[in-house]
């Protein structure tokens, strides 16, 4: 039997949709399923439904480039993502499932004095808040990743980098499935192919959702959707400071493992890694113009391939297998939004931009705690929605940009 299949989860789908749940989570991606998982495992709350329009993990959870890192630019973010990174390290033990987690180390390359300044600053703030990042010189960079063209084709010379040894990756689908299995094993219902079409209201309060499978009453409704959160929020007259942008990526065929770290360059706007299956996974920055479409673009592929070859010349002769697009909810300050919305009984976890995958364990755990206790945990308090009204935005230069 195929090795991947042998270690696969066992998903036990519910036989029917109940008319009421204590908690309804909209969106069966990593964040929605992890929230359900931690509600069940940490708080004993199992009368929970996760409503998914497509199949689980069919949105951004199954489209991202699976990078796990905590090298952000503000203390609140470093703390949060470091916690998530550590939870990822324990996820296989926690769920008993192989999520193909591998610590690879991440190099973030500087090609200019300005870039050096930025990467040094990243190392400083990371170190201060418990995340491992150090500034490294070209010689060390070459030791870590001998395939790099240190001259950047003579156009983008490498000056230095920040090195984040705990940078890791995991198989995105397997993370989604591990949470889904764990949640369903404890009685959580996950309903695939069920779309939310509206909210049930009692005055201001949200008391449930209308779905393509009928009305479902709920004590609390949580939006964990990606890509269309503003559309969903507008159904209850809620405006979120979110714009949706495309993020594209492509993969090559599979090759024997020979590329160790994850490499990112802000100057060139690309990043590359070789996950366990052996393909080279290459991505870029978000498209500037907001869009909901999943269209793949040729100018992206052409330019991204070109720029990645400047960094890693061996890529030139690799075969492109497939390109695809995800849609990212970018908040006005490039940080996530978690918690209360001002609409009673409606919570959100959104603004996951290009960093949602790495936040799945901590995001799910913290949202579950908020739902179970009714109080915002300290770790995510800085990411509350009311920060925009209160002029307490989380401007994070460490998150803006690539992945």
């Amino acid at each position: 039997m195929n090795e991947a299949v042998e270690r696969l989860v066992d998903l036990r789908w519910p036989s029917q949709v109940k008319s009421a749940y204590d908690v309804v989570i909209i969106g069966g991606g990593g964040h929605g399923l992890a929230t359900a998982y931690y509600l069940a495992t940490r708080h004993g709350i199992t009368n929970v439904a996760v409503i998914e329009k497509g199949y689980i993990g069919s949105g951004n959870s199954g489209r991202n480039t699976t990078i796990i890192r905590a090298n952000y630019g503000i203390p609140e973010a470093v703390r949060f993502y470091q916690h998530s990174l550590e939870m990822y390290g324990r996820l296989e033990q926690e769920t008993g499932r192989d999520v193909m987690h591998a610590t690879k180390g991440l190099l973030w390359i500087a090609h200019s004095e300005a870039g050096v300044r930025q990467e040094r600053a990243r190392a400083e703030i990371n170190t201060a808040f418990g995340s491992k990042t150090e500034y490294v010189d070209p010689k060390t960079i070459q030791d870590i990743c001998p395939q790099l063209d240190m001259t950047g084709q003579g156009v983008w010379p490498i000056y230095g980098a920040s090195y984040h040894p705990s940078g890791a990756s995991a198989r995105h689908d397997r993370v989604v499935w591990a949470y889904a299995e764990g949640a369903m094993r404890l009685g959580v219902h996950v309903h695939q192919r069920t779309a939310v079409t509206g909210f049930l209201r009692d005055g201001d309060r949200v008391v449930g959702v209308e779905t393509t499978a009928g009305s479902i009453a709920a004590g609390v409704v949580v939006s964990a959707v990606g890509g269309h959160v503003t559309t969903l929020a507008s159904m209850v007259g809620l405006r979120l400071p979110i714009r949706t942008h495309q993020l594209q990526a492509f993969v090559t065929n599979r090759y024997a493992q020979a590329f160790g770290p994850i490499v990112a360059s802000s100057g060139l706007g690309v990043y590359a890694s070789q996950p366990a299956k052996g393909e080279m996974l290459i991505g870029a920055e978000i498209d500037r113009a907001p869009a909901y479409a999943y269209d793949a673009g040729h100018s992206f592929l052409r330019s991204c391939a070109f720029r990645s070859i400047a960094l890693l010349p061996f890529l030139r002769d690799l075969r492109v297998l497939r390109q695809w697009t995800g849609v990212c909810d970018m908040s006005a300050d490039y940080s996530p939004i978690m918690g209360f919305t001002g609409v009673p009984n409606l919570l959100v976890t959104t603004g996951w931009g290009t960093w949602g995958f790495k936040a799945i364990p901590a995001g799910g755990e913290q949202m579950a705690e908020l739902i179970a206790t009714g109080r915002t945990p300290a770790l995510i308090a800085p990411f509350a929605l009311d920060r925009f009204a209160n002029d307490r935005t989380m401007a994070d230069r460490g998150s803006a940009g690539t992945h």
Binding site: Y55, E113, L315, D317
Partner: protein, 728 residues
Amino acid sequence: MVTDSVLTHLLRRGEYLTDGGALCLGGDCPHCLATVDGVAYVRTCQTPFRQRLSVQAHPAGDLPRLESRGERAPVPARTIHCDVVVIGQGPAGRRAAEEARTDGKHVVTLDSGDGQDAIGIYPGPLVVARTNDSMWQLYPRDEIIVATGAAEIQPVAPGNDLRGLVTARATTVLAAAGVTLGRVVAVGTPPEGVVATSVSGELVRFEPAAADPRRVGAVVLRDSLGTEHSHPCDTVSLGLGLTPRDALLRMARGMNVRGVGDVLLPPDVPPCPLDGTVCPCSGVTVEDLRSVHARGFCELDLVKRATLAGTGPCQGAACVPHIRAFLAAQGADLPTPFTARPVTRQLTLGEVAAGAHHVATPRTALDAEHRALGAHMERLGGWWRPWHYGDVEAEYTAVRTGVSICDVSTLGKMQVSGPDAVALLEHLYPVPISSLATGRSRYVLMLDERGYVADDGLVCRDGDTRFTLTFTSGGSTFAELWVRDWAESLKLDVRVMNQTMSLGAINVTGPRAKELLVRAGVTDPPGFLRHGTATVAGVPCRLFRLSFTGEVSFELHHAAADSVTLWQGLMRLGADLGVRPHGLEALMKLRLEMGHIIVGQDTDFDSTPRRLNHEWAVRLEKPSFVGRAAILRTNKLPLDRQLCMFEMDGNAPAEGATIWLGAEYVGDVTSSTWSPTLGRSVMLGWVRLQPGGNDEPDELPTKVSIDGQHARRVTRRSFDPEGIRARA
């Protein structure tokens, strides 16, 4: 005869590159993939044979190596605008192309037989194709015709990885190419023009030959009574049905695309596979399908993600028909195939990158001068700029004690004229504009609607209805959009000319700056924050008197064509004054001693004037300007952090260093330098206010530590606190 492919050439010699599997010769199956000229995963059935071509099998039982060998010339790109693109030149494609030509259309055809493969259809519409010598981008005005035909269905049964299995159409091609096939047994539709024994029944397995365990020796079928029959053979021809190659059609939904010929066929659904390998690329068996299905993976996409079937180089061509049949047999509706995405035919990154360029970084008119002087050039604020000329200390000293020049051509520069120019600028800037006298300049912050500082610069009044604006180097592109957008949305009658590239600018700075200008022919240099015109070293200039370095400074704006003349003139005339150019590194030091901020370096995108300690640059008594409402609102909230100036003994900490109050983090350093004049380090940094306690207001800490060293916050800079030097 058509050129031999690498595959037929080798097969004719009895050589195999791969383990086996049913060869299709149509570019659909993964059974002929090999490394050709250093590129792995090349379809040898589609690669024309030529002498001295290096062809190697992929490593047995392993993946190809991650490497690239030797130099390769860049692949050229071609862009063709036409009326119609016809993809595929089988009978249907040829007919469609002919019809379109008869209608007088400009038609471009893509023939995979000639190595022309469409790799994707993108919004545009744009058809991208790989050819043997270049990449094509085809923009059809009228329509795209997809005539890619249909692929033959692969067999799924034990032994389907043996050699000697060939699809029916491929059997015909191999026979015609003179490849020895031996005894041919035909399962399903027989091959055309080949002598073969047709057999019928349900395919059970392929058995290896006694003489060569890697090659087929017999095919076993089961009749309707359940009896198995073994048919000895050397080659099995497999006519198991067709499945349309419709990925391009599906990808182009919503565009002006139509299919012709076999691509429109409804896909044949093979019988539910019972045993054997379904996906040869990822090694997925029927047993795997049963296993994942039992674990709740019941949708085509989930099966794909769980098994990785369909994620290999054949992109599901081999496995998808069988997985659909399998799922249908489990009671599901016959699922639609996966979403079609580019690329549909494989190519290298080097090929797909054809025609791409790096983003070009512009150079000022003085670029060659800087390089000739040995400058270390850096990309800064979107331009190539001199970082230093080899001796930062000497550059610094020249500014503080003598005279120095600096290329500031990259500054954003703009003229605004028109009856509503004053109204526009009153709206854009948080300070009074109408009271600004002609010939005077004012430092301004540019705020966004949220009251955050987006840029800074000068407003200079040139006349009643005419102004010159400056912006930071990195901010000028955004600034133009900002000015134009507001003018348009307020329906104001103004003219806007962005002159960033049109005008060079050289800053002449230092205690002896005026002396140098007088030598260069300026009789009456303008006073502080004034501007005027003069001919300097023979070059007509506008002179702006302001100061970023803290010394007497004149910014000389001039036609870009005159930059070199002016630069060389100043260098010559100031030679005995010790004039030398200074780069950005020295400038960073000079401005930091003065406590001047750099928007973008010292600011975040949520920096209000209050947080920057720049409330002096905002006049809230003005009834309206962009950002005013937001500032009034946020001013009611307690201040949470502020950009402050720090000094400390000892070496300058790294920019980005954290600032601590005891064991508590209170902020970080945004700019940091050693001040030769003060003999200590000066810094700018963000600091969070600390709770005051006992109803006291929150306050900024005074004594902090940075890099483990004591540092103190200063409310007033130590270097020339009165700003006397700049006004001298």
